[in-house]
């Protein structure tokens, strides 16, 4: 049965579990805050947020860190709802 990129319980692997902790970077704290504000304001909800992460292509999902996945889904859902235009964030970053 086909399973989503996130639905990985029971996948065989020999890789050890990475239990290392790291200090959260400023952008990660900000990412958390932005997502929570968007939920509190009713712009998006937790289930949409999860769906956005689950829609990531496998390679992007594998390569992304926890909050990079949050960034992906917030951008995806906000574009879907027309809050931001496709590519708008990238364009602002480059400007």
């Amino acid at each position: 049965m086909e399973r989503g990129v996130h639905d990985r319980g029971g996948w065989p692997t020999d890789a050890p579990i990475d239990r290392t902790e790291h200090e959260l970077a400023d952008w990660e704290l900000r990412m958390d805050a932005i997502e929570n504000v968007l939920e509190k304001r009713g712009v998006m909800n937790t289930d949409e947020m999860r769906r956005g992460i689950e829609s990531m292509p496998l390679e992007a999902y594998e390569a992304a860190s926890y909050y990079e996945r949050w960034l992906f889904t917030v951008e995806t859902i906000l574009e879907e709802k027309g809050v931001i235009a496709p590519g708008e964030i990238d364009a602002r970053v480059e400007a």
């Binding site: 049965m1 319980g9 029971g10 289930d47 999860r50 709802k81």
Partner: protein, 91 residues
């Protein structure tokens, strides 16, 4: 179909397109109701911007680890929160 604590259940082994919160590794596995959590909005519709109504009954389901992980020799239990429409009765 409504379940009570102790009832035997099997997780429906059906594919699903789109967001859902039933883990693939539990589909088709049999367990028992450990607790009735109450009713909650449906994440399968909320994930597409809807309000998630009508609310659905959510259960804590207990599985024997050896049923979930056949190669395991441990006596663990696996617990998962599963919505009613993913559960089938097992006698």
């Amino acid at each position: 179909m409504t379940f009570a604590a102790g009832d035997g259940v099997r997780v429906a082994e059906r594919p699903h397109t789109g967001h859902h919160r039933t883990p693939g590794y539990l589909k088709g596995k049999a367990g028992r109701i450990a607790r009735v959590h109450g009713t909650f909005t449906n994440p399968e519709t909320r994930a597409y911007g809807e309000d998630g109504n009508p609310r659905l009954r959510l259960y804590l389901v207990e599985f024997d680890g050896s049923d979930v992980w056949p190669a395991s020799t441990r006596s663990d239990h696996v617990y998962a929160d599963l919505f009613e429409h993913w559960l089938e009765p097992v006698s």
